[in-house]
Symmetry: C2
């Protein structure tokens, strides 16, 4: 299994869409359906991004999520940490102290400092995290946008607008039906 | 769950013992029992290290494993790869092509080049691997040995020698018993 799961992949892809439009307010359902990924799964990811101050939610039929900060200020590392939580590359179980020669009472020297194996893993993890902190959502969004034809982002905006309009119409119908039933 | 499991931790700790003595031939059972880690689990790790050319096995009652190469030529990365096998930091499921606007037929531009998210994860993974490739088993073994009192490595050698001697005696007893039974 990969270290970073599909939640990270789905979450990052959603944020790229929010980064590609300053005006877009998108529900996690619409973002999931745009990308062909599971809606309930995505509905669990967005509260994590909101809690981490990466997105803001606006309630209502035209509501949805938008980035809480400029996309250039949001790093891949922040998104990974928000979604995965603390997830070390390596867990040290301090087996140094379990040596049979210590008979269950490890001498103080045996646990002095960080275990060299653990220290190596932590250095490797730092290098990995440094790299993830170097890339922002804006850089990724610009890279993705640069591959698409000029009209494409407008078509995507239209797709979202149509979804909102359909919901508005469905609600209006519901209200009219409700009035007839009660009248 | 951490990316690198306990098999990596146990395997590395075993190799440090082999690196601390040029003459030691140790069974995976003795190495496991010295360190208070599960014997059957360790017995599965050593064939992987052998297959990767990191250790060599010598058969017989005094047999066991030793490093196949100088400890300074064996990197932490090699050990990790031998034990974990290919285990990427991130799996790209190419959700770029699943966009609802493509209606199941993604245009060629949508999959052009590596997805920027995947590329970022691969850069992070490279940095992590570079760091693991920079550290050798010898460096780790020297670091561990430097914390122990001078006499300690000798005591460990003695512990291994006693185990071999006990096995030799048990076998001799078994042979004598066998002779009596057959005579």
């Amino acid at each position: 299994m990969a270290h970073f799961g599909t939640a990270v992949e789905y979450g990052l892809h959603c944020l790229l869409w929010l980064a590609r439009s300053n005006t877009l307010l998108a529900s996690s359902r619409d973002l999931a359906e745009l990308q062909g990924v599971p809606v309930p799964f995505m509905a669990k990811i967005f509260p994590l991004l909101e809690k981490a101050g990466i997105v803001i939610a606006q309630q209502g039929i035209e509501g949805g999520y938008r980035l809480a900060r400029p996309a250039g200020d949001i790093t891949v590392l922040e998104v990974v940490d928000a979604i995965e939580g603390p997830k070390p590359l390596f867990n040290c179980s301090e087996i140094r102290g379990r040596c049979a020669l210590f008979g269950g009472s490890p001498p103080s020297w045996s646990g002095r400092g960080v275990c060299g194996i653990h220290a190596t893993m932590m250095r490797a993890e730092s290098k990995m995290r440094e790299e993830l902190a170097r890339t922002t959502i804006q850089q990724l969004a610009m890279g993705a946008a640069s591959k698409a034809p000029k009209a494409f982002d407008g078509e995507v905006q239209q797709w979202f607008a149509t979804r909102v309009e359909l919901r508005r119409q469905a609600r209006a119908k519901g209200i009219r039906r409700g009035r007839k039933t009660s009248g």
